[in-house]
């Protein structure tokens, strides 16, 4: 094992998040989620695993749903990112409201990532079936709800009928 290590290399990046421009000096190895949470204090996006499985850190990156723990902060240079903090515009978005109405969250830890996945889904497919919804949130782990109410809430938010 080496006795000491050189100071890590850094780069200056510019990133737009929820319409606000940020400029920061970041280490090359800094994960995007840590830039978002630790450096920019946007703590709505969460970390639930080390391996890209849980989806709690999901954000929309230049229009594409990504797990922000699977990207380096330097890769976000010049990007436009949407996080959970940008969903409500004065009042809750229909998705956020449906999550509350249908008890689609308990502890709320997975919820920001789940909402971003659902937001990306509904932009792509405004009237998804239950199966399509389940597929779209397959990358998001929830340990509290069993997903039934999440699927229901997304369906309601899409304006479709659901069973009682």
């Amino acid at each position: 094992m080496e006795a000491g290590r050189a100071a890590p290399a850094t780069s200056r990046i510019t990133v737009e998040i929820n319409g606000t421009m940020y400029e920061r000096e970041v280490e090359a190895r800094r994960l995007l989620i840590h830039l978002i949470r630790d450096d920019l204090d946007l703590t709505g996006s969460h970390v639930g695993c080390d391996t890209g499985n849980c989806g709690a850190c999901s954000v929309i990156f230049d229009g594409t749903l990504v797990k922000s723990c699977m990207l380096l902060a330097v890769q976000a240079d010049g990007a436009s990112i949407e996080t959970v903090e940008g969903l409500a515009d004065g009042e809750l978005s229909p998705l956020q409201q449906a999550f509350s109405d249908h008890h689609a969250l308990q502890c709320g830890y997975c919820t920001p990532g789940m909402l971003m996945s659902a937001t990306a889904l509904l932009r792509d497919n405004p009237s998804p079936s239950d199966e399509e919804i389940a597929k779209a949130i397959q990358g998001n782990i929830c340990r509290c709800t069993g997903y039934w109410n999440i699927v229901k809430a997304i369906k309601v938010a899409s304006g479709q009928e659901v069973g009682t």
Partner: protein, 824 residues
């Protein structure tokens, strides 16, 4: 994907009227912040110049620590400091042990001292300017180990050649207790058949809350107090463990929580890491932040109790009437007793399950092994035992060629026997188990079962039905700890709430609990609004727990299915005190008797004379800011604290007898599985969950708990496991290898309920939320039913991945060798 069905008729409790907030699906107060990413979880909190903690962990399952060298790490730029086992052994005392000897002799510190006993055990800690820097530095800490042989199978832990983990204990058998009630000899003498089952195994897994453990710890040098912003779900227990170990009074430990990302019992035993953080914060004079990595959580935290049931014998009549059983429960605690051996008595809350067994003997033996320490996990210890009783029912039914539905109905405790005293003195408060089973069978389409079975067969599939009937015993009598260790001085239970009317008429509620998604802010507001005659929107329930608020007691926290009884009991008590004071104050102002005052529509007013009314704001203002001239003896503060204390006696230690919990919520689940006999792959194709938790304050919240417990049980039944290799390495240390259910894994779900009000609680409620693992039991039973035409294999493990089903298909006799029936 899911639908709710209300039971056709309800028992005992009348339908909640629209005039009360209780009983309605009031929208959750917590949601507005959580759906906007505005919750505050511990890792969201920052302090100026805080350092990040990373633990150096053992790569060995069992080894002596020859030396720990932190010098290279300390030379690293950005490293603030380190902590080692040698320092810990000087600065702290070992944690208090719950166990009687020999478990009592364990010397457990916050970092390994002298020896490591499982892969992932913290050996040293390092603090640095960044998360990445701390992790880098941890790799520069040189630990010299001398590996020792390890043990990873509880059944081998007592062999002569087995390595002993704790020299101080001198044995791996750290706790043993024999529980016997009734007359076993008479039961077996009177039996027509004795069913013998050589070995059953309840597997190791846990609920893996999505947020891992952690804390932000600050030390105030001036007052000597630590502020611990954390997600520990039982701060009262953490304080009892930490204070004596750190040689400080409990007032020096301030616990703060707000939002917690799931707990499920797994966040009770973080006291070792919290002590390490406290020592580092003091040593470095700096706030320190520890966020556990997912891999670290899997390696080292709160595995559920793995349990073997050995040499079981069941006395039964030919008609399926159950007379009694005897068994040995061999429990694998892992390397340390962090909450254990409480699991050695917690199971006894539900000794006979839902059945009228009167003669029971269970020899509980707990051993330590070179695996992660176990801690409470949703359904803690009762789940293991209920899985056992449910397995026994289905094995007996199968061997006697009886219908499992009929065997259950024949042996269930009956509604007219409630309250029912179990052989060990627990008082099941209320319930109608047979009716719940009927509702579940109706939901799953039991009448059409045989045609569905035939239909599946035509498609080359095997279809089976399984039932899981369980109890979610709630509100612990901590006196049961004395059955583990007679020297302990714990008994009863408590929880605290304060309710006040503030200057501008704000109603402010403070709870002692630490919710992790259980909606306490909402349900507490419902109870308060009903008593004060106001809207839930007018009730402000503070988020989270802070021991500075003086709104907690020794057992405060959120664990063990109790909020609806203890927490809401405290809320009700405090609100009734406040209501009484408001009426008294209004009566002074309006010159009438307090009995003439009613609280309604946000006012205190004279009954029958709504003109004579004081808005809450006026009452708040008078007491808080305009109180000159009030009578001297007016005992009104409008700030009321109430400690709810359930009615318990200390159990009889000799007979191991007494009521161990106050309420016994019930679940009956039914599962239909379809197996592909070519591969062993199976699918849950239909599922029904029926719950009875007495009066439901918020039905949607209750149903959410039922759904969550069901999903966790289904995960544990098929996918979730913590297996170890022979060197003691955990094979599922992250979410790649440890597969939790995803959205596509969920079967269609139907939920139903009945309401049997508890006669023992102030609101008729029962604690609920753990669910007793009913889904595990139901899937096991359904697999056994489906496999029956293929040589009648016996499902003998709680965990049944596809390969195990494949094994049972290929070699049914291998599992059948575990069972024999003796006719008398």
């Amino acid at each position: 994907m899911s639908e709710t069905t209300v039971a056709p008729e309800q028992t005992e409790v009348e339908e909640a009227t629209r005039e009360t907030w209780s009983g309605q699906n009031v929208p959750r107060k917590e949601d507005k912040r959580l759906v906007q990413g505005e919750g505050v979880f511990f890792d969201d909190v920052k302090r100026h110049n805080m350092g990040y903690v990373h633990f150096v962990r053992s790569p060995y399952a069992h080894a002596k620590i020859r030396s720990v060298d932190v010098s290279a790490a300390l030379d690293q730029p950005g490293v603030y400091g380190t902590l080692t086992g040698d320092e810990v052994a000087t600065l702290t005392d070992p944690f208090f042990q719950i166990s009687s000897p020999p478990g009592a002799h364990l010397k457990d510190y916050c970092l390994a001292v002298g020896k490591v006993r499982f892969v992932g055990e913290p050996v040293a800690a390092v603090v640095a300017e960044t998360r990445e820097g701390a992790r880098d530095a941890s790799e520069l800490i040189e630990v010299d180990y001398e590996p020792l042989p390890a043990i990873n199978d509880a059944r081998l832990a007592l062999d002569d050649e087995a390595p002993v983990l704790h020299d101080e204990a001198g044995t791996n058998l750290t706790w043993e207790g024999v529980f016997e009630w009734g007359d076993l000899d008479a039961a077996f003498a009177g039996a027509d058949r004795v069913v013998k089952i050589s070995e059953l195994h309840f597997d190791r897994f846990n609920s893996t809350p999505l947020e891992c453990n952690g804390s932000l710890v600050e030390y105030n040098r001036g007052t000597g107090q630590w502020t611990i912003i954390t997600n520990n779900q039982f701060p009262g227990f953490a304080a009892i463990m930490m204070g004596p170990a750190m040689r400080v009074g409990l007032d020096k430990l301030r616990f703060v929580t707000q939002d917690i990302g799931g707990g499920f019992g797994n966040k009770i035993t973080t006291h070792p890491q919290l002590v390490a953080c406290c020592l580092l914060a003091r040593k470095l004079n700096r706030a320190v932040q520890w966020t556990e990595w997912r891999t670290d959580f899997h390696l080292s935290m709160s595995h559920g109790n793995e349990r073997w049931f050995l040499d079981t014998e069941v006395a039964v009549k030919s008609d399926g009437t159950l007379l009694g059983f005897r068994t040995t429960a061999l429990d694998d605690a892992g390397a340390w007793l962090r909450y254990e051996p409480l699991g050695g008595v917690i199971w006894a809350q539900v000794t006979p399950g839902m059945y009228r067994w009167r003669n029971i003997r269970l020899d509980f033996r707990q051993v330590v092994t070179n695996k992660a320490p176990v801690s409470p996990n949703r359904g803690y210890s009762r789940m293991q035992h209920l899985w056992f009783t449910e397995r026994v029912i289905d094995i007996v039914a199968s061997e006697l060629e009886l219908d499992p539905v009929e065997v259950r109905k024949r042996n269930y405790i009956k509604a007219d026997e409630m309250p029912y005293e179990t052989p060990n003195g627990c008082i099941y408060d209320s319930g109608d188990y047979a009716k719940m089973l009927d509702v579940a069978l109706d939901l799953i389409g039991y009448d059409g079962l045989e045609s569905r079975r035939a239909g599946a067969e035509q498609r080359g599939k095997l279809l089976g039905l399984g039932i899981g009937s369980t109890l979610d015993s709630g509100t612990n009598n901590f006196g049961q700890s004395r059955l583990i260790n007679p020297d302990l001085q714990f008994s009863g239970n408590n929880e605290v709430a304060t309710v006040k009317l503030d200057l501008f008429g704000e109603i402010v509620v403070t709870l002692g609990t630490t919710p992790q998604g259980q909606s306490h802010e909402t349900t507490a507001a419902q109870v308060v609004a009903d008593i004060l005659g106001c809207s839930v929107d007018d009730v402000n329930v503070r988020a989270g727990h802070d021991s500075y608020w003086n709104s907690h007691a020794g057992f405060s926290g959120t664990y063990a299915s109790q909020f609806a009884v203890t927490g809401l009991g405290a809320v009700k008590g405090a609100t009734e005190m406040l209501a009484g004071q408001m009426r008294k104050l209004a009566s002074v102002v309006l010159a009438c008797s307090p009995e003439d005052i009613e609280l309604a529509e946000g006012q205190a007013r004279i009954k029958g004379n709504p003109e004579a009314a004081l808005p809450f704001m006026a009452l708040g203002a008078i007491i808080n800011a305009n109180n000159a001239g009030l009578p001297e003896d007016l005992d009104v503060t409008l700030n009321c604290r109430y400690v709810y204390r359930p009615p318990f006696e200390v159990p009889d230690i000799e007979r191991k007898y007494g009521n161990l919990t106050l309420t016994y919520a019930a679940q009956v689940h039914a599962a239909l599985v379809e197996i592909d006999p070519e591969t062993g792959v199976y699918e849950v194709v239909d599922y029904a969950a029926v719950d009875d938790c007495g009066k439901r304050i918020n039905p949607q919240v209750v149903e959410g708990q039922v759904m969550g417990a069901t999903a966790q049980a289904l995960g544990a039944a098929t996918h979730e496991t913590f297996p170890y290799d022979e060197d003691g390495n955990l094979l599922t240390p992250n979410f790649y290898d440890y597969h939790v259910p995803h959205a596509l894994d969920m079967p269609p779900l139907k939920t139903g309920y009945i309401e049997s009000a508890s006669p023992f609680t102030s609101l008729g409620t029962k604690g609920m939320g753990e669910g007793g693992g009913a889904g595990i039991h139901a899937v096991c039973a359904a697999l056994q039913d489906a496999l029956r035409p293929r040589g009648r294999p016996i499902v003998h493990d709680s965990f049944n991945p596809y390969e195990r089903v494949w094994e049972m298909l290929r070699e049914p006799d291998a599992s059948r060798a575990r069972v024999s029936v003796e006719s008398r």
